[in-house]
């Protein structure tokens, strides 16, 4: 267990979860789509398994990212901060959800805090372990990067479409941005 693990409150444990059950969780993850059973096994073996209790923080917004997490069992919540510094729950993540995919290929600060809502079994795939697979030219590592490229490409196109929609029809979006601005000013006055 690394110093980072201890900082993040992660205890490595030996899970009762069998390999076939883990593989079936991983098999339903978009990022691992198209991997053979053997390749899924390579990913599972490269992961660290951990158990965290309710309310434990997996990582904080601003922490340096060095690993991807997969929810095996339980629920996590993604918490961000509004412009006013208020805590906002951005998403609840259940079984088979992946957090921090980009950590596999780059560092950089985490964009939100993630903590457990309930007892959770999680899988942690560290960039170091993934880089070893890449250095060994394991096809599985490259398939995962291609999966990541497809996900990021899709998100980027959705972002562009969303922005395009706003600027193609400015009149029908002015009200929404005005309301957002008024809410912000209101919160600012309150605080």
């Amino acid at each position: 267990m690394t110093a980072d693990d201890q900082k993040e409150g992660i205890q490595e444990v030996s899970l009762a979860t069998g390999l076939s059950e883990v593989k079936s969780i991983f098999n339903n993850i978009g990022l691992f789509k198209g991997l053979s059973g053997e390749e899924l096994g390579e990913i599972v073996h490269a992961c660290k398994q951990a158990h965290i209790g309710p309310g434990e923080v997996l990582f904080e917004q601003g922490d340096q990212s060095d690993a991807l997490f997969i929810v095996g069992h339980g629920e996590l919540e993604v918490v961000g901060r509004s412009e006013m510094g208020e805590k906002v729950v951005l998403a609840i993540l259940g079984q088979g959800t992946v957090v921090g995919e980009m950590s596999l290929i780059e560092g950089g600060p985490r964009s939100a805090t993630v903590r457990s809502v309930s007892e959770c079994d999680i899988f942690r795939l560290e960039r170091e372990a993934f880089d070893k697979l890449r250095a060994q030219r394991r096809p599985v590592a490259y398939k995962v990067i291609l999966g990541l490229a497809a996900t990021v490409g899709e998100r980027r196109r959705q972002t562009d479409a969303r922005i395009q929609e706003v600027f193609n029809d400015p009149a029908s979006h002015i009200d929404a941005f005005e309301s957002q601005l008024h809410e912000m000013v209101g919160r600012l006055r309150k605080s």
């Binding site: 412009e83 980009m102 290929i105 780059e106 964009s111 890449r134 030219r137 096809p139 490259y142 990067i145 291609l146 990541l148 490229a149 497809a150 990021v152 490409g153 998100r155 980027r156 196109r157 972002t159 562009d160 969303r162 922005i163 395009q164 706003v166 600027f167 400015p170 009149a171 979006h173 002015i174 941005f177 005005e178 957002q180 601005l181 912000m184």
Partner: protein, 170 residues
């Protein structure tokens, strides 16, 4: 036309994109490509077309133009041998959101997604090198998308000003 593989390799070997490729890896990439020549003002692709290939510039110039919500039409010029356009189209046949045109006679190599997939399936190290480059691009792509999202939805006052300006102009 038969590709002069050696000549292309000689041009591409010292370029930033390919300098980390071993000789054999670069050769594999070039052999998997087909040449594409564009006349002056000929389009490489247009907005809305499905993309299914990446292109490697050998000689000449390609201008990629796209619409930016902040300052209208933007043009990016690719004019160095070894410049690669559309690397992400090796992953999936997305629709082009930009147009690419050659302002002058231009020579390129076309690497189709199918040819790339064949290299990948064969476990060719060249395919892995391309994926390594793709990973580098991904980081930038993600940062750019996040910045654009933040520019528009994270700064409602500025966006509101832009929208009002646009409404006045129409």
């Amino acid at each position: 036309m038969t590709i002069d593989v050696d000549q292309y390799c000689e041009i591409l070997a010292p370029t930033p994109f390919f300098e980390s490729f071993e000789k054999e890896e670069l050769r594999s990439v070039v052999e998997a490509c087909e040449p594409r020549r564009l006349a002056a003002r000929e389009a490489l692709w247009a907005v809305g077309e499905k993309g299914d290939a990446a292109f490697i510039l050998i000689d000449g110039c390609v201008e990629r133009s796209y619409r930016s919500h902040l300052d209208g039409q933007r043009v990016v010029q690719f004019n160095s041998p070894g410049d690669v356009l559309g690397l992400s189209y090796l992953v999936k046949s997305w629709t082009h959101g930009s147009a690419a045109t050659a302002p002058e006679g231009t020579e390129l190599l076309k690497l189709s997604r199918k040819a790339f997939e064949e290299l990948f399936e064969q476990g060719d190290a060249a395919a892995y090198r391309l994926v390594d480059q793709l990973a580098e691009d991904l980081v930038q792509e993600m940062r750019d998308a996040n910045r654009r999202l933040h520019d528009v939805f994270g700064n409602p006052a500025e966006t509101l000003r832009s929208l009002r300006r646009r409404v006045r102009q129409t």
